[in-house]
């Protein structure tokens, strides 16, 4: 009897975990199709079949070849690491908009180490550079954590501010002291990495960071759900007052949580420059830190959910190129689809009602109950 109901509960949870995102993705594709049809007169004349061409190209681009598949994984890698950086923050009741800045600073410190060790052995240069990236990101996460804990400065504002500071910091370091001198340097960037360039393990560009990111998923899961620290992080996130009464130290946990977030986002930045780019430009145009917010939300702040969300977004980014060249649909359509997926997940009450999904509450709002609400009571820690 107990076993049966236990199994049924798990089945329901699984259903809720898979069904709602699946419906949301499907609805997003429908809305994307309507938008494409409506805008088709601007492309090549009114065309009812344009969405089919576009989605076919999107799917083939992302999954149709080994290089496409590997490219999807490579795209998913920084999204996964930065997504974990945002997701763990959510669990700790912190809204880390600063993954972008932590990513950039991690990339910067990794670059500094990589350039310094360009003549060393890869066996030294690679781990040292990766660790340097993690330390840089950790520092950039520590600052807002510390400010939140000891001055009450809200992390949403401080991390946004630090994102901008990171952009200018990178711009200054790369365009002045670290500017490369090699013949390939035609704009403000460093020399190419030699020793610290991550080895390619699979396909055209499947580099080491893909593997590292994959390993981070079980580690993050263990940290959050099986370790004492994780328990404290989640408790502080759910109710800092209760955590204090239980003898925890919400201030230090806040600092620790933000530092872990920074470390992961910094690792994402390090992996990206060392594995994918191969050098560091002075103006690093990326939106990874913001896409990571969407990834963490879609993955409901759970490491496994974030893994799937990152894979989905990475595949969509990978397929967007082929979609643009074959169906003349601008790659920004991918952003639209991502936003609409999130919209339906956020409005899950409506989706449930319309599609008669009757499952246990595992919605976005249940998982992230603490996020927006922490905004108002910043002094409670």
């Amino acid at each position: 009897m107990i076993a049966r109901s236990w199994r049924r509960m798990w089945l329901r949870r699984l259903q809720a975990l898979v069904l709602l995102p699946a419906i949301s993705i499907l609805l997003a594709l429908v809305i994307g199709a309507i938008l494409m049809i409506l805008s088709s007169p601007l492309i090549s004349g009114f065309d009812l079949l344009l969405p089919l061409t576009a989605y076919r190209a999107l799917a083939i681009g992302a999954f149709g070849s080994v290089n496409g598949l590997v490219g999807s994984l490579v795209n998913a890698t920084p999204l996964l690491l930065a997504g974990l950086a945002v997701g763990i923050g959510f669990k700790g009741g912190l809204f880390n908009i600063g993954a972008q800045g932590q990513f950039l600073v991690g990339a910067l410190t990794a670059t500094i180490a990589a350039i310094a060790l360009n003549a060393a052995s890869p066996l030294v240069a690679i781990p040292v550079s990766l660790v340097a990236g993690m330390v840089g990101g950790l520092a950039w996460g520590f600052i807002p954590g510390f400010l939140k804990a000891f001055t009450g400065a809200h992390e949403v504002v401080t991390t946004i501010m630090l994102n901008f500071v990171a952009i200018y910091l990178v711009s200054w370091v790369i365009s002045a002291p670290l500017r490369g001198t090699g013949p390939e340097v035609t704009f403000a960037r460093t020399d190419a990495f030699v020793a610290a360039q991550l080895p390619i393990l699979i396909g055209r560009n499947g580099h080491l960071a893909v593997l590292i990111a994959a390993v981070m998923v079980p580690i993050a899961w263990w940290l959050l759900y099986r370790s004492t620290t994780g328990f404290e992080i989640r408790t502080v996130g759910a109710n800092p007052d209760a955590a204090r009464n239980a003898g925890m130290h919400p201030r230090w946990i806040t600092i620790l949580t933000m530092s872990i977030c920074g470390l992961l986002a910094g690792l994402a930045g390090a992996g990206e420059v060392l594995g994918e780019v191969g050098y560091m430009p002075a103006s690093y145009g990326t939106t990874v830190g913001f896409d990571a917010i969407a990834v963490a939300l879609l993955g409901r702040a759970h490491p496994v959910g974030i893994l799937f969300a990152a894979l989905l977004f990475g595949a969509m980014q990978q397929g967007a190129g082929l979609m643009q060249s074959q169906a003349e649909i601008p790659a920004q359509m991918v952003n639209v689809l991502q936003a609409v997926i999130l919209f339906f997940l956020a409005a899950e009450i409506i989706v449930r009602r319309v599609f008669r999904v009757r499952t246990a509450g595992t919605g976005v709002s249940d998982e992230l109950k603490t996020v927006a609400q922490s905004y108002g009571d910043q002094a409670s820690r």
């Binding site: 946004i160 956020a346 709002s365 609400q373």
Partner: protein, 355 residues
Amino acid sequence: MEFLYDIPVIGYLIQFVAYFITQLPTFARDVVAAATPIALGSMCGFMNERSGVVNIGIEGMMLTAAFVAWWTASLASQLVPNVPLGVMGITLPLLIGLLAAILAAMAVSAVHAWLSISVRADQIISGTIINIFAVGITGYLNLLISQQSPPSAGKFEALQLPSFLAEAPGIGWLIKALLGVGPIALTMLIMVIVLQVLLFRSRWGLRTRAVGEHPKAAETVGIDVIRLRYRNVILGGVFAGLGGAYLTIEFGSAFQGEMTAGRGFIALAALIFGRWTPLGAFGAALLFTTSTGLQRSIQFAPPEGALGDFLATLPSQFYSSLPYLITIIVLAGVVGRSLAPAAVGRPYERESKAA
């Protein structure tokens, strides 16, 4: 006065302040121009957060409005006569563009209101959705439209001030910087004052503050919390619409993908920095943009002597990051405990009639 400059360290500081004051008139106009969209974004956030709804989607609302203003004005210029109506370079297409931008931002705000108030979704998620969607849809349409190179509808012009105002001794530069601006910036100035007064002196302001601080108490005295929140959030869209339109039909006359470049987020910071008041947010926006003006001034007319040499060695990136660093320091120190409206971020649930 010169002897003051010789004091170690503090002398430099005094010299710097003196330099700043003498240079301020030359870059005040740029500072106000850059602060205008930020202040407008802050007022959008103000309308939301004072009534208890977080809005981190200001960036997306402004981006949408910027695109709609530019595109509609361009379309309208092909349909209706494109002749100036007399003042401030106002033309019919530009007015249509402005109106469309306001309506678009109100529509986006309505979605935000629905998600945060009725659906009771997480309000930060709702804002994130708006930001991602705006980047996607404006970038998508912009790419498709720019292939057909649409005509530009031009932009609003600055108000021509009478010379006794513009050349008033001592404060002429200030009057010129604040009032010698286009219609959207003028609206911003008026609304900063109007909203500030309304917030603390009107029934609407009292009710809004009550709903933002303690919705349950507000409900017991007969205020319709849900309705007021809806109204305020949707009206907040007007300001995001003005802020977006400012970028494409007053400050500039073209649209580029992601052209808001974080202004919506800075607006949010300005709002918090200004302690959730319109006047404070406007002041914060001015502070943020002053350092950019200062940087240019140092580049073109550096102060004399050792101070000038020192300032010239600082990289331009330092000045660019100054407003953000100042914000962090001030938030941590002076207004570290600047408190948000207590109910912000919490969806309101009516107690059931039976209870």
